[in-house]
Symmetry: C2
Subunit: 375 residues, 2 copies
């Protein structure tokens, strides 16, 4: 089937680009001596997780219990749930663990430690846990500079109902970078913070099996992961306009995931055209406005995936996307009813708008992959 024949909006996955992105990150991890534990929240798709884990242990990272259930059901039995564990999720986590899925949980507080210990004691289980560390993003995690953080790690390691897996961080601050040089500095800071904290814990007599780090920008920029044992990027499978803007990838790498849309309105008198892809196909993620305040809500491309200069996706309502057109000849290039492709600002959020992907091979639709674990 050609793109012309598809209904829109549709989520397109270009197989060759996806595979290239996955191979490159695998090679990067191998070169720098770390294990890759890909985050599947970006795509929520079993087939893509299989591509990410070729020649690989199969360990994955998830962001919800629904993802954990779905990927466990698909045979992935070593998962890290990379959000401080919500207490209501503990019984279900215990069930997965009891059925043979190693589901690593995160915590960063005494309160969560007590809650997990009580559940482990009641169920006769030892929950594998990571201590979440704040390396500068300030979203979650303990401060590695505080003495209490060492005390919490010691309590985890000493617990009869927990298996202390190590320390884990996420350098989300790398998304504030303006290019690969800055992302390299973030990655190096993240590495140094985690390596130093692991050493501090070891000096205090705490065994630290794993030191887990990484965001996609940091993982694309890093040249050294000494002291780190695993990285958990996710977005790299698809990339997006944001990642291209902050230097994680070339824009063409972000063609791994695009949204196919139809031109449904021409308004040359106000230099605008209208697409049938809105906030429920692209999300309202504003993109890398710190790099380019006028980046718009995605990058408009033609069917083969070439960006169309002179266009800007200016606003999205639920099912409409408005495009400002600076060159009147573009209306003839994009007639009513024709198809365009959009590289979204944030592929994780755009992909979550869809229950399935159309798989592209050599520019033709060549299959369909469902997503799993949607709310």
């Amino acid at each position: 089937m050609t793109l012309k024949e598809l209904g829109t909006p549709a989520a397109l996955v270009d197989l060759d680009t996806l595979e290239r992105n996955c191979v490159r990150m695998n090679e990067r991890a191998r070169r720098l001596g770390v294990t890759l534990r890909p985050h599947v929240k970006t795509h929520k798709c079993v087939e893509i997780a299989r591509i990410q884990t070729r020649g690989h242990s199969g360990a994955l990272t998830v962001s919800t219990m629904a993802e954990a259930r779905a990927f466990a059901a698909a045979g992935f039995n070593d998962l890290t749930y990379a959000v401080p564990v919500p207490f209501h999720a503990i019984p279900e986590a215990a069930d997965l663990l009891a059925r043979g899925t190693r589901l690593n949980l995160l915590l960063d507080s005494e309160g969560a430690l007590r809650e997990l210990e009580a559940a482990g004691s009641a169920r006769g289980l030892r929950f594998p846990v990571f201590l979440k560390v704040d390396c500068g993003y300030h979203r979650a995690g303990v401060d590695p500079e505080r003495e209490e953080s060492v005390g919490l790690a010691r309590a985890l390691a000493a617990s009869l109902h927990l298996e202390f897996r190590g320390i884990l961080t996420h350098s989300g601050q790398a998304y504030r970078c303006a290019g690969a040089e800055e992302a390299l500095a973030v990655a190096e800071h993240e590495r140094a913070v985690m390596a130093a904290f692991a050493e501090k814990l070891r000096s205090a007599g705490v065994r630290v099996p794993e030191v887990s780090a990484g965001s996609t920008p940091a993982c694309c920029a890093a040249r050294d992961w000494s002291g780190v044992t695993e990285i958990r990027p996710g977005n790299y499978a698809f990339f997006d306009a944001f990642q291209a803007a902050v230097g994680s990838c070339a824009l063409e790498d972000a063609l791994a995931f695009t949204v196919l849309a139809t031109v449904i309105g021409h308004y040359p008198e106000r230099g605008a055209l209208l697409l049938d892809a809105g906030a429920l196909a692209l999300s309202k993620d504003p993109g890398a406005t710190h790099v380019d305040a006028r980046c718009g809500l995605g990058v408009l491309c033609d069917e083969p995936g070439r960006p169309i200069p002179g266009t800007r996706l200016t606003s999205l309502s639920q099912e409409h996307g408005r495009v400002a057109v600076s060159d009147p000849s573009l209306f003839a290039r994009m007639p009513l009813g024709s198809k365009v492709r959009i590289i979204p600002n944030h592929s994780c959020l755009a992909a979550a708008c869809f229950g399935s992907y159309v798989v592209l091979k050599d520019g033709r639709a060549d299959g369909k992959w469902d997503t799993v674990g949607r709310r």
Copy 2:
């Protein structure tokens, strides 16, 4: 079941508030002598559409063909697909029409007229169509001041393969208002533009059966719909923080739809706490920043639905919501593992994150309603 027992994030629909919102809009329409054709894109839920259409023709508005299919299957057989029709949707629209669903389509161009005529001719069908008019939002629609717009209406009315249903607009510019007074002015402008254009068409010999208008802010503010025959608000069933900010409703009316979340992190050293509701539970809609630049990404409430002063939802990542807390005593009020409710900035986009609603009756979970027509 109490809210404490629910998994999170969860989409809550408070039945009493929903019904009150629906009754009020029905009464408003009746008082002003217009038909109400509710937009179901906000909730995508058959049970809610039934509440909206009590004592009513059952006519609805939809925003996608998937919604059209789903609501037609549920017995709603008079639908308006309120987006300029994408050409690839025409065969399916023809199928629905042939099976007895009146599916009104929108167009605003000669190109779409030709495309629909060709399809109607090939299938032996007459598509019911509205001419989409721009009343100042500048998203879609013909300019009612231009002579070509009269010509297009005349061509629609004369077509053998189209049934001209009338003219239709959407005053989306009402979302830029800072209060009910301004929304009233938008509604009055919308009414005047549409009434005048209908008269102009009638003077030109074109029969105009319907004059369709309305956004939720305009419909909440309007005092007169003379010359208009139907209104199509949708958001009013749920409302949200944005609608409260622009004066469409009281904040308590927006408790019709809330997102239940769990407190998963306490960071008093930086005045922050963390929720397990992120962009895939609330959307990244920035809210009514033109009214309050610091409105945040939703309004944090306690379990009964009372806003919690001193909190601000500062940022959302995929599955994390960060809350700035200005009063240290609030940590004790929201302990780890406790539940909060969030009034989202934009209920249409937040609701679309979920496949079902938990129905609340007197503060307790009392059933589950599925959504339909998701991608």
